[in-house]
Amino acid sequence: MPVVDPARLSVVRRKSRRDITVATLSTVVFFVVLGYVVASAPGWTAVQDSFFNLDDAIASWPSVWRAFLLNVKIFLIAEPLILVFALMIAVLRGLRAPVLAPLRVVATLFTDIVRGIPTILLVYLMGFGVPALQLQGVTNSVVFWGTVALVVSYSAYVAEVFRAGIESVHPSQRAAARSLGLNNGQGLRYVILPQAVRRVVPPLLNDFISLQKDTALLSLLGVIEIFNASTIYSNNTFTYTALVVAALLFIALTVPMARFTDWVSARMSRRQQG
């Protein structure tokens, strides 16, 4: 049995109770003061009526929600493709075999050029440009080409995240893999990549969240996704509540995802470190 001094323990417990009380009180006070400052602003009633109108929220909900499902669909299709392409690009950049030199050059050029172009321009150029080519046998859907633009743009960023992860694995791991007779590809696949991917889960999530929000860029192509749907409602009623509803929907999507990733990272490190 561990030896614990009861007097010592009661002091520690008392202190921790006091800390919790202080934290709760100061949080309540902070939000009450903040609420008071906002509510006492001269324009508050007008803002409340225009931005936080429950009737408008309910009325705009069906069209905003339906449009939001398109954003979610675009995201769900784009994200796995981005992960695959980005990992491929990152791996290609790390290959040393001379015969693969052209692939390495292409991968490097791709990340350099694409990362230099603002995503908004890429969406415009591909969304309007490719359908204008009137290619035979490929779709002219702007949703399709807008999604391709997002995949292209984010693959370049995520590839750099993967590459940073690969380079963060200590060279001694590669040496250990090689010393066991594993070739470069096997070492990468079984030893380097599993460790690299685990390390970059938090920055990957960061890019996921950006992508979820950047699906709204397809509004530029005239796609009725959430931003366009809520703007249409707002323009018809001269209120902004529909946009606030849109913002809340995005938050409802990203916050659970952030908590989920925290949980995954914590579980991984618990398993390894014990």
Partner: protein, 254 residues
């Protein structure tokens, strides 16, 4: 078969040179290791002990000279390095276990992927080796949950699972707490009794004296003196060996 081939040692280094940039680490190292022999490399920091082991395992390319393994120059550019590494195991000072895999997965990875053994076969062999070295109950643990001594024993098992013809040990006890050193040295003693050919770089002079068939004192990137443990530790002929052993003795490590 010609006579000179039958006399070929298991491993022969001839005039091996290796520099990192302007820093020449090996300056014409020559050494023979016969089958079932245990050769220990001792010497001051920077004498080239670790580098020569990494060169033998082809983890570092050499600049000049030759490394003959069973008579083949394995150091020549373009030689199939993986084929050599299948036959020569190495254990590092810093263990270098794969932290994302359990102990048993660490051990079975190379036998499955390189030697093409089935999962069951590789696992059976891994469990036999783990049992032999008293680690069977750690099979499903991740490396970070193990003590340093246990991790290093697992690293040795991982190398042994490839059934190597020769093992290289690169200061395998230098990163361990003193009370954990003994368990790792015990494993190496067992391997000597089993007749495995070994080359060790070590700072454990007492152990070097006990386990070696021959001891090589390295200094300035060459073998400065080579002999039986008795010759090297009791009657060193070369002044640099004498100075080194005197310093080690003063530090209480002899």
């Amino acid at each position: 078969m010609p006579d000179n081939l039958t006399k070929m040692p298991k491993l022969r280094l001839t005039e091996v040179h290796k520099a990192f940039g302007d820093n020449s680490v090996l300056r014409g190292m020559t050494l023979d290791v016969d089958e079932h022999e245990v050769v220990t490399l001792i010497g001051p920091s920077g004498c080239g002990k670790s580098t020569v082991l990494r060169c033998i395992n082809l983890l570092e390319p050499i600049d000049s000279g030759a490394i003959l393994f069973d008579g083949d120059d394995v150091s020549w550019p373009g030689y199939d390095a993986n084929a050599v590494r299948r036959r020569v195991g190495i254990v590092f000072q810093s263990f270098n276990l794969f932290p994302h895999m359990t102990v048993v997965d660490n051990i079975t990875l190379a036998p499955r992927k390189v030697l093409g053994r089935s999962g069951d076969e590789a696992t059976d062999q891994a469990m036999q080796l783990l049992t032999r070295f008293g680690l069977a109950e750690k099979a499903q643990d991740y490396p970070d949950r193990l003590s340093g001594g246990q991790q290093q024993r697992v690293a040795i098992v991982r190398a042994l699972a490839m059934d190597p013809e020769m093992m290289l040990f690169d200061e395998v006890t230098s990163a361990l707490d003193p009370e954990l050193v003994a368990e790792v040295l015990e494993v190496i003693r067992g391997l000597k009794d089993a007749g495995l050919t070994m080359v060790l770089a070590t700072h454990e002079m007492t152990f070097a004296r006990e386990i070696s068939t021959r001891v090589a004192f390295l200094d300035g990137g060459v073998v400065a003196e080579l002999g039986t443990p008795e010759q090297i530790f009791e009657a060193p002929q070369v002044p640099r060996t004498q100075q080194f052993l005197a310093r080690v003795g003063r530090a209480g490590r002899l």
